[in-house]
Amino acid sequence: MEMIRKMIKYIICAMVFVFGMTGFSDTKADVTAYAAEAETTVPKAVQVEAIDYEEGYVLIRTNDNTKVYYSDSKQATWTQIEGNKIDDCLKLDISWISVNSEYELNLKGSDDETIVTVELPKRNNSLKVTFDKVEGILDFTNEEGATYFEWKKAAATGAWSKAPVNILDAKADNDVKLAEEFRKQIEAMRVKGGKISVRIPQNPGTSEINTGSRASNTVTVSITKRGSAPSVKVTSNSMKTNTTTAMEYRICSVDGTASSNMKWTECEKSMTVSELAAEVLASAGNPGKTIVVEVRKMETAKVPYSKSTYLEIPGQRVAPDANVVSTSKTTKKYTMMISDASTAKPYQYVVVKAGKEFVESKATWKNVTSSKGIAFSSNTYPVGSKIYLRLKGKDKTTSASLQLPSAYTEISISYLTEQNK
């Protein structure tokens, strides 16, 4: 639908262009007819056709005067405007006229010496522009009622771009687009930071009466780069992150599927991976889902939000199969052996005395890297004590990616009774 709409727009544009051209050639024919008639016409006072402050010229219709002269307000000396006429017009260069004060330019023809006075305005020299790094917009002072400003990268040689002064509150469709484009480009600059040039554009003059206005002074505005991304890590052992309350996060994707809810959520201190996204944990015998979490420093009143750190947290593995665990008991000892434990496949366990509560994240896990038996004494761990077993996780390194510890298996400690003996 969007594409079709665009196509229709282009067609209309093209049609307008073609009709415009036709209209233009008609006008040209009129001009030619006028010129033919002009041979018998008496020269009249010269006229100002256009004033372009950017190009720095006044376009003067000579009205059949052989020469055109100009002078300043004193009218003491008159200088001939050089160059050859084009379509009965001469271009007077005005780039030598100071932009810092008003200038009275007087013109007259060599035949009709009526003096035509043009008051060239001075430039608005007091424009001030600052960058609101939080909002990513520009704040204007002394823009003198201008509704648009022009900007370009300070180092760019390309054309100026236009945008509405009121960036956040643009109403017209086109203004909204211009504002968006401006913000997009500014955002792109905030990776490395940079400078832009900003000014209020000229309003070209159209006659000796309507002289328009000059472009304002050009202000160079520094676009500050965003703060570096926070260094956020997952400690595999505790499955905790080092988030702080100054950060915020959002889930970018779950198992490669882009998240539908891209809202930012404030972080708590040292959030666990499950607090970030519960789906990452294995559940009901199913492994957890891989999540990508984007974390950045939150914006404050003074500091904009930072660049982002992306945490890719693979889904948690399911708990170890009970089959890998074999036990042997005496009345005083309970020995556990994990058949496939090795340094390549480390396990971890925690023993919780009977009557004590097991908190996974606070537990002190012991590593198991061989199938050697691990003995527990009944004196220390009476019946009812429990062993929690899981596959060990891995912290992220430059050569290895993060692996969460697996879900855990619960094993109850028991001893041989006298009867059983």
């Binding site: 190009e55 720095g56 052989t66 001939q80 405007i81 050089e82 160059g83 390309g158």
Partner: protein
């Protein structure tokens, strides 16, 4: 599969299709193939990476084995492309980046090229083009003004050249760089080059150039160029002068349809040419008036003689009517405000209006000597340039023919003139001239001018004119003794500058002279001199040998007059002394007082001695003098006998009253009469010789009226009191008082009856 998964799949299919369509090859995304860089934009400084379908993020790092990979923020577009900023990457060296997806883990290496820093741009001010070098394999060049931040495509075309030309008015700095070549992972393209500046200097001030309205030549330099203002192509100048007909032929009358386009100007632009290192200067525009023709209707050429011609430019009303005023056209006389000028083109030469030397004509008549305008030369005339008009189109006089001067003026015949020094005489001769305007300017003898008068030229049958010249004043010449008694040739100068120095000669005889002398004759005393002789005698020196009268007679004194009266004299020629002795008798001298009015007594009056050759000598003189001078408070008086008698009676009565004792009866009588006192002084020259004079009598009307007298100075002065009592007793009448002095030595009387007059009435 949920909805989003279906959409993703569809999008992936579309993306693959687009890639296939775009590349023209079928591309199968093999499992494990990594991300790819699809677009690098060095202008906007972005790099676009296409990810694999399974990738949710694209990461980049500067090393293949980096521990930290940066994520490209933002979202994938429909084509699974994401764009990153590369503005932070330095352009000064090659820069390698590695890309991978979060799933497509195999890093892809892309090296971004460094910027081309060797690109060069140079302005060629002659055609306002920019020459580029070291562009690499990029074709496009962009430019901007230093004041602008927008890069525009650049092309060396006429419109751009036109704009660059316009920049020269004020000067500007332009920046150039090559365009980017967009890159991909396979071919990373090229960054825009380093921007290089090209300074377009402000134009130098317009050169100083002007047209000399007289020579019709521009003073220019070879570094300049010019064009008519309404033309667009500049023309070279290869010399230090540029002639008007070359630069703007239509400004000249001869070129401009020969019509008087008065008031029209032709506009010419000048500037200093652009060089390989400097733009052309500002433009100096000259407005040149169209040249007018020279109207010869009031210009008259003629010869004044063999050595001179003349141009007369006088006011003249034409028969043609001025279109504007409706009145007949009037050509004004030449003057300083309406100046003309002429030049002479000698035989075999051609008029060069740029080099000709012109002479101003600021008055109606201008005479030109044949040394200036020799035979066969042609004279051209034009109106002199003014601040607003060019010198007019030069026109030849005399219908363009070479000059042919007429023969010189001459004398009708040789003349020898003679005269005597100091004797006024008019001497004539006749000049034959060719032109009725010819006048005699001067006649000199031995470089001293003679006074003369010349008659109006009288036309003769042969077409010549006769002028009778009368020399009537040679006084200045005669003052110089060297000019006397010698034959001098006249040097006659005519108004047409001709001179005649042979044919008229003048001989001036020295004047006769007498030694100056002044004789004194006392009234009432016989004339006598120091000498024994009883006559006045002197010699007339003739001073010139063989002096004769005009008709060859010997020279003698023909008359001597004194105050117009002939004086009798005797003369005797003394051939040895070349002189004539003159004697005048004493009794002739005693007559002198009769010849004069008494008011002329005391003045030396010349004897006019006339010779029979016309000479007149006047330096022998005589003065008639009273021997006695009379001085009184009045020179005359009058008295009535009756009033005098009543005055005497009144005095007598008063004396009687005042002489008695009764002082109360005393009266005062105003004194009305007193006896006149007169002083008579004998000339000292007389008393020196004879001091024995005494007062013999004082009478009036025959009656003795002397009251009393005193004498001083050995009898030279007598103070005489006249008795009124005696006077009133005499007969009434009006007469001079007569005093008689008498010398006791010689017995001679001096009768003085001049000087005091008395009238007595009853």
């Amino acid at each position: 599969m949920n909805k989003s998964k279906i959409r993703k799949l569809l999008l992936t299919l579309v993306a693959v299709f687009v890639v296939m369509a775009g590349a023209g090859v079928i591309y199968i995304a093999a499992s494990g193939a990594s991300v790819s860089v699809t677009d690098i934009d060095y202008e906007n400084l972005t790099l676009t990476v296409k990810a694999n379908p399974e990738d949710s993020r694209v990461l980049f790092a500067t090393s293949k084995s980096a521990t930290i990979w940066e994520e490209i923020p933002g979202e994938f577009d429909n084509d699974r492309k994401i764009t990153m900023d590369i503005s932070w990457i330095s352009v000064s060296s090659n820069y390698t980046l590695y890309f991978k997806g979060d799933k497509s883990a195999e890093p892809v290496k892309v090296t971004l090229p460094k910027q081309n820093t060797k690109f060069k741009a140079v302005l060629n001010p002659i055609d306002n083009s920019i020459k580029f070098s070291n562009m690499g394999d990029v074709e496009m060049v962009y430019w901007r003004k230093s004041t602008s931040s927008e890069w525009k495509e650049f092309k060396n075309d006429p419109e751009t050249a036109n704009r660059i030309e316009g920049f020269c008015t004020k000067g500007i700095t332009l920046y150039f760089q090559t365009g980017q070549k967009k890159g991909t992972g396979e071919n990373t393209g090229a960054r825009p080059s380093k921007a290089v500046s090209v300074k377009i200097t402000k134009r130098a001030a317009a050169p100083s150039v002007s047209l000399n309205y007289n020579t019709l030549t521009f003073a220019v330099k070879k570094t300049m160029e010019y064009k008519l203002s309404d033309e667009t192509t500049w023309k070279e100048i290869n010399s230090t002068t540029l002639n008007l007909e070359e630069a703007a032929p239509n400004a000249l009358y001869e070129q401009n349809s020969k019509s008087e386009n008065a008031g029209e100007d032709i506009s010419i632009d000048f500037r200093t040419k652009a060089t390989t290192s400097k733009v052309a200067s500002q433009i100096k525009t000259l407005e040149i008036p169209v040249q007018k023709d020279t109207v010869l209707d009031n210009v008259v050429f003629s010869y004044t003689g063999s050595k001179q011609c003349k141009i007369v430019i006088d006011k003249k009303e034409l028969d043609t009517v001025d279109d504007k005023t409706g009145e007949k056209k009037v050509l004004e006389a030449a003057s300083s405000n309406n100046a003309y000028e002429y030049t002479v083109v000698k035989d075999g030469e051609v008029l060069d209006i740029h080099k000709a030397k012109w002479t101003s004509i600021t008055s109606v008549t201008t005479k030109i000597s044949s040394t200036v305008a020799p035979e066969k030369s042609v004279i051209y005339v034009r109106k002199k340039a003014t601040s607003s008009d060019l010198a007019t189109n030069a026109r030849a006089l005399n219908e363009g023919k070479g000059l042919e001067y007429p023969d010189s003026s001459k004398l009708s015949g040789d003349v020898e003139l003679t005269k005597i020094q100091g004797v006024a005489v008019e001497k004539q001769f006749v000049l034959v001239v060719k032109n009725e305007d010819t006048e005699v300017s001067s006649i000199t003898f031995n470089d001293v001018a003679a006074g003369f008068k010349a008659s109006e030229p009288v036309k003769q049958a042969d077409g010549t004119y006769w002028i009778t010249v009368t020399i009537n004043d040679t006084a200045s010449i005669e003052k110089i003794s060297a000019n006397l008694s010698t034959k001098m040739d006249a040097n006659i100068t005519l108004s047409n500058t001709e001179t005649i120095s042979k044919g008229v000669s003048l001989y001036i005889e020295k004047a006769s002279t007498v030694t100056a002398e002044i004789y004194t004759k006392y009234v009432g005393i016989p004339f006598e001199t120091e000498k024994e002789e009883t006559a006045v005698s002197f010699d007339v020196a003739l001073n010139e040998k063989d002096k004769k009268t005009a008709d060859g007679k010997n020279i003698e004194v023909s008359s001597i007059t004194y105050n117009g009266k002939d004086i009798a004299f005797t003369q005797k020629v003394d051939a040895d002394k070349n002189s004539i002795s003159i004697d005048i008798a004493k009794d002739e001298m005693d007559k002198l007082p009769e010849y004069l009015k008494t008011v002329n007594y005391g003045s030396a009056i010349s004897f006019i001695i006339k010779l029979n050759n016309g000479e007149s000598i006047d330096n022998v003189k005589a003065k008639v003098v009273y021997p006695v001078t009379v001085s009184a408070s009045e020179s005359s008086m009058g008295i009535s006998k009756s009033s005098y008698q009543s005055y005497l009676d009144e005095v007598k009565k008063a004396n009687e009253l005042n002489s008695d004792d009764d002082a109360n009866n005393d009266v005062t009588v105003t004194k009305k009469y007193s006896d006149p006192v007169i002083t008579y002084t004998i000339n000292s020259a007389i008393t020196a010789k004879d001091s024995t004079y005494y007062l013999k009598s004082l009478t009036w009307n025959g009656a003795n009226v002397l009251d009393s007298y005193t004498s001083t100075n050995r009898g030279g002065t007598y103070k005489v009191t006249v008795s009124l009592e005696k006077l009133v007793k005499a007969a009434s009448g009006s007469a001079n008082l007569t005093l008689v002095l008498s010398s006791s030595e010689s017995g001679r009387d001096i009768v003085v009856d001049y000087g005091y007059h008395i009238t007595v009435t009853e």
